[in-house]
Amino acid sequence: MAENNSIRVRLVTPEKIFIDGTADSVSLPSASGYLEVLYAHAPLLAELGPGEVTMHGGDVGDRQLFVAQGFVEVLPDRVTILAESALPPGEIDVAEARHKLERGKKMWNDAGDEARRYDEANRVIREAEERIAAAERAGKSG
């Protein structure tokens, strides 16, 4: 199916299929760090962390999208990304992200001694920080 080692990429959000095409390489943020997917990657199933999905080559072209919360399935010839939200880094609302960061910090302070609430607070903080960082990177390059 795949000619010249390109992989099929699909990025699906709850609203619609965001991207459906081919690419030479895809780098994506898993919950524990970024990973780069090329043709014939071993099958993998992972939770997505907040960060940027970057695609190169193929018919989707060079594209970058900020995603937060989701799952990814990697098969040798295709990558399917399920993300709760996806948007170009240039369109990130920094003010809102900062607001969320504040809220996350407040949650962290209020968490008391419940481990679960700390985890939740950490998740919010990390997502907000990544969002701001991605927006800043986009601002510099663009």
Binding site: E15, K16, A42, L82, S85
Partner: protein, 355 residues
């Protein structure tokens, strides 16, 4: 007896009304088309979540082999002593029996379970308005939460309203649905509630709709809706909707989604050994709440589409009624006018004859 002038005024007024209902019908039809499309586009994601979850469930033991207990709190079924009902109505009226039907199903649900405490989460202004009259809001505990864990809270009545979500449906986003899902998941896992039911208008296509009572928590079998009760449309209603849709130019057939569905249901189910970046159980822990959120989101999207379909049908019926009324009035008016003319001629003729 009305005179010609009165009737003429009456006809003009009905004509104005007809124009309004006709416009509303066309607007509803346009919105229906859009919301149908949204529901359709949202399907791949829902399918994928369900299929990856189903495949995970097959791969790992969800029950502890020693104790027989479910490994994840959302999979564990309990005796239903306190249940939560999420009712999805519309924000606006003028939609025929749309809101009344959901309310009826909810009332029946509550009446059937006399020995169970019910918490209501109401989506949509119409439902809130009606249920507020019959049930009181739940009283909050000191820390702003309803209860702390499995102890039953201090109830004023058997049925109480724990949440109202007005305006959630216009501009519906996944985030909003996920927010509500988080609340429900949290309540279920802290054993505040023993089951969560969803009452909504299911919308598969214009002519295939029904009111559904679906149990979304605990998760009994992934990817297969746990329907506790459903009311199908009657044939007459279906025909009415079909007529309205045809005159408004909305296609009756659901789009062919089989290929896309099949494609989507392959997600995470390939017959290979995946490398799991997280522990499969951890992955599942993250997936289950998302699955609930997707179900809620989907139910709301369908309910929105059903609401527009109902409004379109109601407005089509109103337009037809207005036309019938205009015809009847015009007939009476012409008769009256003719009668007046005849009378006048008789007067002139008999006057002439008398001379």
């Amino acid at each position: 007896m009305a005179n010609v002038l009165d009737l003429r005024r009456r006809i003009r007024s009905v004509k104005n009304t007809r124009q309004i209902t006709k416009a509303m019908k066309m607007v509803a039809a346009a919105k229906l088309r859009r919301s149908q499309e949204r529901a359709f586009e949202a399907r791949p994601y829902a399918r994928m979540i369900a299929s990856v979850l189903a495949s995970l469930v097959r791969r790992i033991d969800i029950y502890d082999p020693d104790t027989g207990e479910a490994k994840h709190p959302l999979l564990e079924a309990r005796l239903e002593k306190r249940v939560t009902v999420v009712m999805v109505t519309g924000d606006k009226g003028f939609a025929g029996a749309f809101n009344a039907n959901v309310l009826k199903a909810t009332h029946r649900f509550i009446d059937e379970r006399t020995d169970v405490d019910v918490d209501l989460e109401i989506v949509g202004r119409k439902g809130i308005g009606v249920l507020r009259r019959s049930y009181a809001p739940a009283s909050l505990a000191a820390d702003g939460r309803f209860t702390q864990g499995p102890q039953p809270r201090n109830r004023g009545a058997r049925v109480e309203i724990t949440g109202e979500h007005a305006g959630m449906l216009d501009n519906l986003t996944f985030e909003k649905a996920a927010c509500l899902a988080d609340i429900l998941v949290e309540r279920y896992s802290s054993q505040e509630t023993d089951a969560v039911y969803l009452v909504f208008n299911e919308f598969q296509s214009v002519i295939s709709q029904r009111i559904v009572v679906e149990r979304i928590l605990p998760i009994v079998e992934v990817g297969k809706p746990d329907i506790a009760g459903a009311v199908e449309l009657e044939r007459e209603q279906r025909e009415e909707i079909a007529r309205a849709a045809q005159s408004a130019g909305v296609s009756l057939k659901a789009e062919d989604t089989r290929q896309a569905d099949e494609e989507a249901s392959k997600f995470g189910t390939a017959q290979v050994d995946y490398i799991y970046e997280q522990q499969p159980s951890e992955l599942m822990g993250a997936l289950l709440p998302r699955y609930i959120a997707t179900q809620l989101f989907h139910a709301m999207l369908e309910s929105v589409a059903a609401e527009h379909a109902a409004r379109m049908t109601a407005m089509d019926a109103a337009t037809n009624n207005a036309s019938d009324m205009i015809d009847a009035y015009t007939l009476t008016m012409n008769r009256l006018r003719q009668a007046a003319i005849t009378k006048e001629i008789i007067e002139i003729v008999s006057g002439a004859a008398a001379i």
